[in-house]
Amino acid sequence: MMKLISILFKKEVLDASRDKRSVMAGLYYCIGAPILMCVLFTVMFKQMASPEALKITIKNAHNAPNLVQFLASKEIEHGEGEEVKAITLEISDDYQVNMTQGKSATVFIIADKSEQKLRASINRLERNLMLYNSEVASLRLVARGIDPTIARAIDVQTHDQATPTSKGGFVLGIATLSIIISLFYAAMGMAIDSSAGERERNSLQLLLSHPISTTHIVLAKVGAIAGFSIIALILTTVVSKFAYNMVPWEMMGFTVIIDFTFIVTAILIGLPIALMSASLLIFISFLAKSFKEAQSYVAMALFIPVMMSMATTYDIATDIMQWMPIAAQQNAMIEIIKGNAIPVTQLLLSSAVTLGLFAIFTYLSSRMLKSEKVVFGL
């Protein structure tokens, strides 16, 4: 029986490799998606981070030379021209009088806080003004013979449990999302072609006229498609490994490392998903009456696994999602990159469910192939 399946498998692989366009479409995704993501991240980080030397507009600077100097030491300076951010710091006219008399001297920050690109810079300006506040306040206390520590009633010390690799939470979600999606989308064209396509080319009837069981045919098709999905997964992770090195993660204070161990575990975790994905794609394609219809159905059906993965990425309903197939596997991948312990129970359970789905879809497809309605697309 194994021999039979392996012959059928070879036939499927040969068939698929002849359809260069489907193969190329899959490969494009695997190479293109990680690179595109890295480019987007790099651009996004550069926009979100406040530039090292922040140029703003400072009005009435002559009223507060010491404050201006303090900000300059934090690389926030008055500037002219294009690089100046749309942030104005205006120093009030009575700044000196109030400062001398120990009253609060007013400064105004004029900026649009809804502007995403400015947010980090505005925060930085506010933070540094607070620092100036406490520096002057401390010195005022010292000048009065008081230890400035008393103004710090509590000493807050944060013990951050994160590591440089785990801090990239959201980014890791997106990175693993791209890996999971590769298992569904890379082989999509191939799956439709080997089922609905084969039917339209009238070679399916020919195949069924041989003395072989429909289960064998379906298994061979699923195997070939899943194999291609795994290749896609390997390609995606390997490309990611190199592309991610180019992103200036350290600007945001974390890093993402895709190493060899991760690639291997991702393959193991991805295997059941690949089988399930392939059987699902084939089942839906046979369900459709034509090639075109199959394309629409598949696109609609793939929305479900993508949503599962999205939920993990955006941390939606984590308590429930962590037990769901696909979501749990993606979660395990994230934990591995973070260097944390793998949630074994969740992973095993969801993998079992995933394999169960694979069995169900395979069974349904093989039953369908016994119906003439399906075989002839009536």
Binding site: T100, L139, A143, T255
Partner: protein
Amino acid sequence: MKKPFNIKKNLVKLAAVPLLISAALPLRAATSAVELAPCYAKHLSDRVQCGTLSQPLSDEKQDQKIDIHFVVIPAIKPLYPQEAILAFAGGPGQSATSIAANFERILKYARENRDIILVDQRGTGKSNLLQCGLDDLASQFAVDDTLLGLDFYKEDTIECKEKLATDLSDYTTPAAAKDFDAVRKALGYSKLHLYGGSYGTRIALEYMRQFPDSVASAVLDGLAPSNQSLLAIGGAIEDSLNALFKQCQSDQKCAQAYPNLAQRWQSLLTQVEQTPLKVSVLHPRTSQPLDMTMTKSKLYGAIRMALYAHPSRVLIPLAISEASKGNVLPLVGMMAPNEDGMDLALGMHQAIVCGEDWARLSGADKEKYSKNYIGKTMVEGLDITCPIWDVKPVPDSYYDPVESDIPTLLLSGGLDPATPAKWAEVAMEKLTNATHLVAPTATHIVASQSCANKLIAKFYDEKAVGDFDTSCLQEDTRKQFFMNINGPASIADKE
């Protein structure tokens, strides 16, 4: 029993050399042979790794062990997993791991790609801390140190020695250097980039001498080499203070608010030397009434500590001016944070100063260093305490200038009251691949107050100053003096 305390005693105990790293103010590929546990350092929220390594006390005392405590701050993006930065603390006597947050700030850019190793040098922090108690603020304020005799210092030292019951000869710089390389080896790094600040430069240079193959590059910030006596610090203090007076004089508003500051300082010193100023003040934190006897050594000590960083320097003209009017409150405020002797390990401090600096003093040296007040106080104090500690002098070869072609960057602050730029010239005599950069307006520890933190990261990457732009070190980092009790502003500004 608590003994009365005074700054002078403190000066003796600490040998008045707090070459501190300024606290004024923020997936390992190398395979480790030592057990590491996740932990946290003070004021550093990032999770770090802690470990301990058992080291022989000396080559002769192989069976006596000392536990060396260390911390590894992981790199953000470890591009060079086989390399790490080893940072040395100052003092002598400062615990490197307890100021991890300061090092993290100074080495922020360098840490992006490399781990940072911090080791508590033997005798400090959690590596067999050699510490003796200091008196509380109330006693520090009250005592009239001019009335205390030599016996007082002797007794105090003997008491500390009995408490520690340790031969300090095992705690000198050359003895400690081996611990650092043992930690490197245990952690599995092949090459280190060194950062030493203040006294830390002395141990860094010794490490370069003993383990040249372990060092990829070195940044030495505020040089205190073995061939430069720490007792010359008195001159540096005076230079730094005079520069401050000059700065005030050349600033129209400051000159107007505080005329003849230098003369007022001198007459204030003479005044308190003749009759210490006795006033009653409130405790800087608890507001309990306290007696304050402002003697020359307390006055000098307070002003001297304020010279270390720009934020505290701005108060000096006000403090001197007020004190000469009889108001010592600004001085009281300045003294409060130094209550605990800046957390220096006194025993270890004495091991270094007695074993390395005092041991080598000739009569002529003593005379030379005694030309200024701090130097004189130190020489007098060490002459009493060092014979009691009885630290074995380090070998003569220790005073040879370190010979090396390791890429080295030396940094000095033009206003440094502890390690002046000329000490760097002494250090680099035989460093063939060294560059010395001076930030003219920086005080002690250039990396904490200028763009030097960026230069350090670049230097570790390129191992040469080459063509990178160092002009940012020229930027004026001084702050405006307090013109009155509320700040640098004065109504005269409003035209």
